[in-house]
Amino acid sequence: MEKYINNILAPKLQGDGGWVEFVSLENSELTLLFRGECSKCLILHRCTEWIEQEIKRDLKKIVKVTAVRKKPYFQDV
């Protein structure tokens, strides 16, 4: 899962100025850290739903993504 997030999905989010990092997978709860443009995205939930779909399709696993946002210091208000 970690490799999949870092190697397959992360480059795609980076292409949009975003950033995702694997944090943990406990049972079916996948915790991901979102940085860059993702960290301030108003509709991030759409993206996390897409991630869940991609994981289901590629890894045949059903997960629920918990998003942790880490905003840049200058937007962390």
Partner: protein, 974 residues
């Protein structure tokens, strides 16, 4: 008595007008017929025209569906039969989206939609069978180009909800009235305009709205409202405005930024397409488009659109501007790179359109080197345009908008630094703001106002042109003239005797971090610039014609000098692309350079500086490779076998942390800094404070993270731990190396300090594992020197910079750009710092601080994290930098010896620097570029006549005596 603030809770008349304006806009579309058989296929772009698909087939796309994926491209298609009720009417295609979509109908590109526009004319593309075959390609943008636009911000995100696609008709009267209101409401809301006129507008716009009946089934009164505006508002000339503004349409297209270079191919297509369609509808519309590189990609991948573009160039509507191949950074590239930007740019325009352009169009670049005017002038460019200094300076107001820019060598170009931003949407308030900010009202003629959306292209909209058609009806607005870029420049600047002169660099008082951010890119840029020189020179000497291959390599390299790539202000994938490009270019150049049995001195002066020559059996180490320090003593442009000198004598002595060499007695602190550097030859101490002292500063410049260093960066420093104190790690007959390891919690910094037996230079090599966030690493040198100026290499001559902070102009320049070296000297001696890939440096009183690494997180959260290796040389010297030959030392330091069995059969052209040797573009001669870098004038007598060329390789004369002036760059043909 308590103060009670009076708050109006009921609706103001202006709000009532706004509300009804919203209602009016709902009636722009007449009939709307939804396309319900759309199919979509998600993909991701992996190269300029290559896509990886998420599925084998298309799937249905319905209104309300989610579409687009992160960094996604979507292909959408539909087969449509025009419904009976729409036949014979002027039909439009409408699709509201946050993505950037190019639309093809029945095999023809008909236009584009993006966050700035949502429809395009369809009727001309309907075939005889009334069928429409739609093919769309869209790239989604999660981050809007312009965060000033709240509408764009509201639709940000990788995944979008499809709002439907429609074939529709437009209520022309409503649309026209909407444009009237857009225009007039902007004035009414802007404090830049006369208050009484705004009151008049608010009253009369309300009256105009009163003509419309919004209550009935059909909207009535639109014509009456329009007539009212004509009769009452447009006819009014009681209120007078002033000013004379030239409106030039353009689109700012960052080749890479928050997107990769591969995406700019389609961004450019969309931008061009949109402008072509506007030209079809508005014959008066003219549009300026920069960057010959973008024309090349259009011609390569979308030839049918390019053919249309060519037609519009012929009729004068589509204007190629900007002689440079891309809009490069104009601080870090060296002189030859900037010349090649012009050469390949102009050649591309010549090839496509049979003409060159006479302007450099660089609206967004982060300041401009003093060497640029000469390069432009000799590349057929008389006019320079760049906006940043007026709109972005953080300390001083740049004192001119239309002026003459004088270069380092005395060359003059006409310059325009427009008073306001290069992205505007042609609103009256923006135009008025431009006029009010315009400094040269009395001397400069018109002011230039650019309009059109960017940064990812997009350009002008129908609305911008419709508003422009109405400007001359508004008495309070400045006189506005829609014109081409070249027309504006020639009309207002050419032969204008009233223009003031700015003699010096065009320093941008912002974005000072871009000299340092993404250290590895900058070092690769330096290294490859040198390799191009060597490769071209060797090809000429070998009689090999590799012009085509080298040109392609050069172009790939020049694209990476784009002003958001080389400066480091981009997302992570752009960095990866750039490093991949550099790797490919460098590998190809290495193959061209090849090898030989002897070493060849590619420099046209004696190679007499101590040089590291790689050798697996060598006794010294540099950058992890074995070799020997050798003084080549090679004549200019000559070959030799080199042997290391076997010196077995005791040439240095170390007593604890004090080292004595033939030149110095140096006392090293445990962290590698020097407490003392006593010069035995010159009998003086060089250190007065922290010297060779690594300092980490907290570097938090805010939103412009990758771009900026703030003036207060010195306020907070981070402690460095001495993990391994300085000690001798290696020595041989030529060099002795002290190694120290410094560390923070996350990073480790190995510093190798090298003293030499036969060189005054002291080299410092850093190998860094860098894992910091928001830090600026600087190497500080407090020198025992009394001076008020520092001298910096520009790559084609030197620039002097004041080291005091007397005025705001010096205060603002706390961080500047230099190339291979900088220097602080008294008349009797000084200290130079020579580097192999660093550009940022600060000066204050007797102190130089070399910027080494940054750690920013926007736009790339991992910027600069990883391994870094770089060197600089501390060179204490007698006299000043010029007389001490620092430039030649620095050139040698940045020019590794190569092995090649070549022979140079031409003069050496000393004392000029042989900047480039290449085959001419037409293949008929050898082109030699010579650069005077010491600020001297003189003559070189040749044994035979040579052709005098400009930088575009046009023959301008013939001579057997080269006469040169300070900092002149000459090009000759042999």
């Amino acid at each position: 008595m308590a103060h009670i603030k009076v708050v109006r809770r009921s609706m103001r008349p202006e709000e009532w007008t706004d509300l009804r304006f919203g209602w009016l806009k709902r009636h722009i579309y007449g009939e709307k017929w939804e396309i319900e058989n759309l199919l979509i296929r998600d993909a991701r772009q992996v190269d300029e025209m290559q896509f990886e698909y998420y599925s084998d087939d298309y799937r249905p796309l319905k209104r309300g569906d989610m579409y687009f994926t992160p960094d996604g491209t979507a292909f959408i298609k539909a087969e449509v039969k025009i419904p009976e009720e729409l036949k014979g009417k002027e039909l439009w295609f409408s699709l509201k989206t946050a993505a950037e979509i190019c639309v093809k109908v029945n095999g023809k590109y008909i236009g584009g939609v993006d966050p700035n526009r949502e429809r395009m004319l369809l009727s001309p593309y309907i075939d005889v069978n009334d069928t429409l075959h739609f093919e769309m390609m869209g790239y989604n943008r999660s981050k809007p180009d312009d965060e000033r636009n709240p509408e764009s911000l509201s639709v940000r995100g990788c995944r979008q909800i499809f709002e439907g696609a429609y074939i529709c008709t437009i209520n022309d009267d409503v649309q026209s009235l909407v444009y009237d209101f857009e225009l007039l409401l902007d004035i009414a809301k802007s404090e830049l305009f006369n208050e009484d006129y705004r009151s008049f507008l608010n009253k009369e716009l309300n009256n105009a709205m009163n003509c419309i009946d919004f209550e009935g089934d059909e909207l009535t009164g639109v014509k009456e409202a329009k007539q009212y505006i004509e009769d009452v508002i447009y006819s009014n000339d009681t209120y007078k405005g002033s000013g004379d503004v030239a409106l030039v349409a353009h689109s700012h297209l960052d080749i890479a930024y928050y997107w990769r270079r591969i995406h700019s191919v389609q961004k450019n297509l969309r931008t061009v397409l949109i402008q072509l369609r506007l030209m079809d509808r508005y014959p008066e519309f003219k549009y300026a488009h920069t960057q010959p590189y973008t024309y090349e990609t259009l011609e390569k991948y979308y030839p049918e659109v390019f053919e249309e573009l060519k037609e519009k160039v012929k009729n004068g509507q589509f204007e190629p501007v900007g002689a440079m191949y891309v809009e490069p950074d104009c601080n870090v590239p060296n002189a030859e790179s900037l010349i090649r930007q012009c050469l390949y740019g102009q050649k591309t325009y010549e090839k496509f359109f049979g003409k060159r352009v006479n302007n450099a169009w660089l609206p967004d670049v982060f300041g401009n080197s003093w060497i640029l005017p000469q390069i432009l002038k000799k590349s057929g460019v008389d006019y320079f345009v760049s906006n940043k200094m007026s709109t972005w300076n953080d300390t001083n107001r740049f004192p001119h908008n239309n002026f003459i820019w004088r270069g380092i060598d005395g060359s003059d170009v006409y310059a325009c630094v427009p008073p306001t931003h290069f992205i505007t949407w042609n609103m009256p308030s923006q135009i008025q703001e431009n006029w009010e900010a315009y400094i040269d009202k009395d001397s400069g003629g018109q002011t230039l106002n650019m309009f059109g959306y960017g940064d990812g292209g997009s350009g002008c909209t129908e609305e911008m042109i419709e508003l422009m058609r109405r400007f001359d009806k508004i008495s309070v607005m400045p006189k506005c003239t829609h014109t081409s870029g070249a027309e504006f420049l020639e009309k207002n600047l050419k032969d204008n005797k009233n223009l003031q002169v700015w003699d010096g660099e065009l320093y941008l008082e912002m974005h000072r971090g871009t000299f340092t951010t993404k250290s590895n890119i900058k070092r690769a840029n330096r290294r490859i610039e040198e390799k191009f020189r060597t490769a071209e020179m060797l090809c000429v000497m070998r009689g090999e014609d590799k012009t085509e291959e080298i040109t392609e390599l050069y172009k790939k390299f020049l694209v990476n000098q784009f002003h958001d790539i080389l400066p480091g202000s981009h997302i992570h994938p752009v960095y990866e692309d750039a490093m991949k490009d550099y790797s490919e270019v460098e590998k190809a150049l290495d193959e061209i350079i090849g090898t030989g049995s002897k070493y060849f001195n590619t420099l046209n002066f004696n190679r007499d500086a101590l040089t590291f020559v790689k050798n697996k059996k060598g006794t010294a180490t540099r950058y992890g490779e074995k070799g020997n320090w050798i003084i080549p003593n090679m004549k200019p442009l000559s070959s030799a076998n080199l042997r290391k000198t076997d010196f077995s004598g005791e040439w240095f002595e170390v007593r604890t942390n004090v080292i004595e060499t033939p030149f110095y007695i140096a006392k090293l602190n445990s962290d590698g800094s020097m407490e003392s550097l006593y010069d035995k030859e010159l009998g003086r101490e060089w250190v007065k404070g922290d010297f060779n002292k690594l300092k980490l500063y907290v570097d938090c410049p805010g939103n412009y993270d990758a771009w900026d260093i703030l003036p207060n960066y010195r306020e907070k420093q981070v402690e460095l731990e001495v993990k391994s104190p300085v000690k001798v790690s290696e020595s041989d007959g030529e060099s002795v190396t002290f190694t120290v390891i410094l560390a923070t919690e996350k990073s480790e910094w190995e510093m190798n300090i090298r003293f030499f037996r036969r060189s005054r230079g002291i080299e410092v090599e850093s190998n860094v594992n860098w894992n910091e966030k928001h830090k600026l690493a600087k190497m500080e040198f407090d020198c025992n020197i009394l001076t008020r100026k520092a001298v910096c290499d520009t790559s084609a001559g030197y620039i002097e910079r004041e080291t005091h902070r007397n005025t705001t102009w010096q205060q603002a320049r706390f961080e500047t750009c230099h190339h291979k070296w900088c220097d602080m000297s008294e008349s009797g001696g000084g200290i130079a710092l020579i580097n192999d890939g660093k550009y940022g440096v600060g000066f204050l009183d007797n102190s130089m601080s070399l910027s080494l690494l940054r750690a920013t997180e926007r736009p790339d959260v991992t910027s600069d994290i990883g391994e870094h290796s770089f060197c600089y040389m501390i060179v204490p010297h007698e006299s000043d930098a010029v007389n001490a030959g620092i430039n030649k030392l620095a050139i040698q330091y940045n020019t590794p010896l190569v092995k090649s069995d070549c022979q140079w059969n031409m003069p050496t052209f000393e004392p000029l620097y042989l900047q480039a040797v290449k085959k001419s573009e037409d293949g008929t001669m050898t082109v030699i570029r010579l650069s005077e870098q010491d600020g001297k004038r003189g003559k070189i007598k040749l044994s035979q006549k040579v052709k005098l060329l400009n930088m575009l390789e046009d023959i301008e004369g013939e001579t057997d005596t080269i006469e040169y002036t300070p900092f002149e760059i000459l090009t000759i043909g042999v």
